[in-house]
């Protein structure tokens, strides 16, 4: 099998995230991803994967690979993207997170958490405090993601809120993250200058889309055999010709970006 290019936005929320727009339904996300020329998306709601299967189903027979995941909030309030090839793996991590996630959502304060079908039918409302933090350490979360075969990525590492550097001030050298996600506000070069100890890490860009217009506004080009987590992991390490490069930032069509807890 030859290597091909895959454009990926590995950080997309759905209407399950309390801070995401309610229009973030599975088919709408898939349509926008295809329109933006993406080959791969990662679905990662805050501390939950309950809409992941719906997005996978919405992408069936479309030319789009959906990695199922969560954006876990660790006890240090660091956001970690966990991405998997199979929804079941994401659900297993979700089980662990749910066991350690205290509190109930207050929709008035944080927003609605809508569980939907592929067709955006409302299946129910998640009542957990998904905006909260799991009582799991950063190390434990990364370890648990890897035990399930997933990718562990420090989300929006350059942002002051909920990014690993904003919360901890540094990236622990021994922390086996697969990659570090940067927002469109910085470049790997600038980031390496500011945080020389992170110079050896792999960087990617994701949109952290909370609205449809955000989908694909930040993305990464991968050279892979196929769009799987194992191949992406090889690209992060530069193994066997697998590579990645950051796409130039694209402006969303809408001027205003809704930005909530992530």
């Amino acid at each position: 099998m030859r290597l091909g290019q895959f454009k990926a936005d590995l950080h997309v929320h759905t209407c399950l995230s309390p801070c995401a727009d309610l229009s973030m339904g599975p088919r709408a996300i898939v349509a926008k991803a295809v329109q933006r020329g993406l080959d791969v998306i990662g679905v990662a709601d805050h501390n939950s994967a309950e809409n992941a299967l719906a997005v996978v189903n919405a992408a069936a027979r479309r030319n789009l690979t959906v990695l199922a995941g969560l954006e876990v909030t660790t006890q240090e309030e660091v956001h970690v993207l966990a991405l998997f090839d199979r929804v079941e793996e994401a659900q297993q991590l979700q089980e662990l997170v749910y066991q350690h996630l205290p509190g109930e959502n207050d929709p008035e304060a944080f927003g609605l958490q809508v569980v939907v079908s592929a067709d955006h039918d409302v299946v129910g409302f998640n009542t957990r405090l998904l905006a909260g933090a799991a009582e799991l350490s950063l190390e434990r979360v990364v370890e648990s993601i890897h035990a399930l075969g997933g990718l562990a990525i420090a989300a929006h590492a350059d942002r002051p809120a909920f990014g690993i550097l904003g919360q901890l001030g540094f990236i622990p050298e021994q922390l086996p993250l697969d990659a570090v996600e940067l927002s469109a506000n910085t470049t790997p070069e600038e980031f390496r200058r500011r945080f020389p100890e992170c110079a050896g890490r792999a960087f990617l860009r994701g949109s952290d889309a909370h609205t449809l217009e955000d989908v694909g506004t930040a993305s990464t080009f991968f050279r892979l055999r196929e769009p799987t987590t194992a191949e992406i992991k090889k690209a992060f390490r530069g193994e066997g010709g697998r590579q990645l490069s950051l796409a130039a930032a694209e402006r969303s069509d809408a001027g205003r970006r809704k930005r909530a807890i992530g």
Binding site: E77, A109, P160, A260
Partner: protein, 114 residues
């Protein structure tokens, strides 16, 4: 003592319009982890923090805190200010670092849970 009286005595910058500066402060809590404030903040507390993300307003509103006091002259995100106005949560800023600001609050008689 009310939020407005504390603001005046300590020279705090009031960043929100509206919000009840007449609210009586019954205690204080300091933390930079939102989940910690969700767990331990009490209604009527002033919350001393350096976090400026707009979820601080959701936390303050959910816990019925009296006000959010930002340290080191930090300014909240625009979206946080909009949410604060909507929710009626006063947000104030002090040039002091947290330790010094909390000392001043204690001097005024505001206490945290022991």
């Amino acid at each position: 003592m009310t939020v407005g009286e504390v603001a005046e005595k300590l020279g705090l910058e009031v960043l929100t319009e509206g919000g009840s500066l007449a609210r009586e402060i019954t205690g204080g809590y300091a933390s930079d982890l939102l989940s910690d404030v969700l767990a331990h903040g009490r209604a009527g507390d002033v919350w001393v923090t350096l976090q400026t993300h707009h979820n601080i307003i959701a936390v303050a509103s959910m816990k019925d805190l009296a006000a959010v006091l930002l340290v080191n002259g930090r300014q909240p995100e625009a979206e946080a200010l909009a949410a604060a106005s909507r929710e009626g949560v006063p947000v104030l800023s002090s040039p002091l670092p947290a330790f010094a600001l909390i000392g001043e609050l204690c001097r005024l008689g505001i206490r945290g849970a022991a």
